[in-house]
């Protein structure tokens, strides 16, 4: 039986006219930009692009439009260049926020959307990754399986796609559960 957990976050509301979105070449760039901007304390959110900007495996960053110049400057200092900066004019999609947790004796499996991670709670070893469909999933499995939660690379560090992002959400939750 799965246990369901919703991630703690505010209820989704339509973005106001004071919000803009940064569009990047690929998800890796989004993850890099998110890291840089969050470290600087900006109030940003990673979301799905509006229909007119979707091409495949996409994420965008929603940001306070008024701070566009300073955000672009900071990203530029870090060698990150968005493809487009546009105001928000439609409701943006929210990333998955419902996690499913299953126990198999000493093993714990957490699923976020299409990605699953399984850990041996006694040893903290990652014993399996499953699900997903983007090409970095098998690569992430090679990098993470048989490694400890404490020294495995995080999906956001080595992944590129939305599957990696979903796996990061599951990874964060499994770390939290194994530290409790």
């Amino acid at each position: 039986m799965f246990h369901l957990f919703r991630r703690k976050k505010k209820r989704s509301e339509p973005a106001g006219p004071d919000r803009g979105i940064l569009v990047f070449e690929n998800t890796t760039e989004v993850i890099r930009a998110e890291t840089v901007l969050q470290e600087q304390g900006w109030e940003i959110k990673v979301k799905g692009p509006p229909p007119g900007l979707r091409s495949g495996c996409d994420l965008v960053i929603e940001f306070p439009l008024i701070e566009e110049l300073s955000i672009i400057r900071k990203l530029s200092e870090d060698g990150i260049k968005p493809l487009q900066v546009v105001p928000v004019n439609s409701v943006l999609l929210e990333p998955v926020d419902l996690l499913q947790i299953k126990e198999y004796g000493k093993y714990l499996m957490v699923r976020a959307a299409n990605m699953k991670i399984t850990v041996d709670r006694e040893t903290r070893l990652i014993v399996n990754l499953s699900g997903g469909g983007c090409p970095d999933v098998p690569y992430l499995a090679e990098q993470m399986v048989s490694r400890s939660l404490d020294n495995a690379p995080q999906p956001r560090e080595v992944g590129y796609t939305l599957c990696a992002y979903a796996l990061q959400i599951a990874f964060d939750r499994v770390v939290e559960l194994c530290s409790a």
């Binding site: 198999y104 499996m109 014993v127 983007c134 098998p138 590129y160």
Partner: protein, 298 residues
């Protein structure tokens, strides 16, 4: 002839096409060897084991290295767009790949221009992009798991990452999600949904439910969906009807899982080794145990 398309998790692996040979736990293709692990290598190995058991020729594979940047996938999209029209595959299974709607549509247009339409199967990234681009109905079979089925059922989600919580929630039963996926034209002609129970469905509803043998831990093992897709693709390529192939493949995959004596830490190569034994059992039942008599068939 069975064609398989997918990616290898190695950045330097060049675009390579040819018939594969499965030998001593490695896939051999054009002077290269590939470890059998989750993802497209598991699909290839399962298909190769199945075809070998049935005395059919090995699958023809189109592979490229891609660790998520999408560069390898772009190369292979373009390669297939340029040449797939002239091929003569009877069955084509599309697997781990970077979703790119524009490149995918160009490639699909060429597949649809083939003189004889192959049975078209998609899983993983290719299933995502087919739904993302509104092209699911051009496919004969999708093989989603529970999370991916919820994605197919969510008419607004462009990727499983954006599946809305009220659809992803466990209170939604598989048959309801299947019905919703078909209602919004986001499913292939057949869906083989893998999970604690496997379901075969089409637009009219559930055709079969396969829930024996039961090994709950298979869900945690990376690659069990890939092997199922590989087995069903191979069975279809030998001429079996999709409905029968799907039910047989689900049984073979579950039996191979059982024979592997799995724990959540088991790796997929252990299951693949058991496929011939499982095929032997399931296919020897072929004449006396037709599709409708499968365990749990509805």
């Amino acid at each position: 002839m069975l064609g398989l398309v997918g990616t290898i998790p190695e950045e330097s692996f060049p675009l390579t096409c040819g018939r594969t040979l499965l030998k001593e736990g490695q896939i051999h293709l054009e002077n290269r060897s590939i470890a059998v692990n989750r993802g497209t290598p598991a699909l290839i190995a399962a298909a190769a084991e199945t075809l070998n058991y049935l005395g059919s020729s090995a699958p023809f594979c189109y592979l490229v290295g891609d660790i998520g940047s999408g560069e390898g996938s772009k190369q292979l999209y373009k390669h297939l767009t340029a040449g797939i029209r002239e091929s003569s595959f009877t069955t084509l299974a599309l697997h781990y790949f970077q979703p790119d709607v524009a490149l995918f549509k160009e490639m699909l247009q060429e597949i649809r221009a083939m003189a004889v339409q192959p049975t078209l199967i998609a899983d993983a990234g290719f299933m995502y992009v087919a739904k993302m681009g509104g092209d699911a109905a051009h496919f004969d079979l999708f093989t989603p798991d529970a999370g991916e089925l919820a994605y197919l059922a969510d008419e607004e989600a462009p990727h499983p990452f954006y599946t809305r919580g009220f659809i992803l929630h466990d209170h939604n039963e598989v048959p309801d999600l299947i019905e919703r996926a078909y209602r919004h034209n986001n499913a292939a002609a057949f869906l083989l949904v893998k999970g604690a129970s496997d379901y075969l469905a089409n637009k009219d509803g559930i055709l079969a439910k396969i829930d024996q043998p039961k090994e709950e831990v298979l869900e945690a093992i990376g690659g069990t969906g890939d092997t199922l897709t590989g087995i069903v693709s191979a069975l279809i390529a030998t001429g079996m009807e999709i409905e029968e192939a799907a039910v047989r493949a689900a049984r073979v995959n579950r039996l191979a899982g059982l024979y592997a004596k799995p724990t959540p830490a088991t790796q997929i190569d252990e299951l693949i080794k058991q496929i011939p034994r499982a095929l032997s059992e399931v296919l020897s039942d072929n004449e006396r145990n037709k599709t409708g008599e499968e365990s749990g068939a509805v």
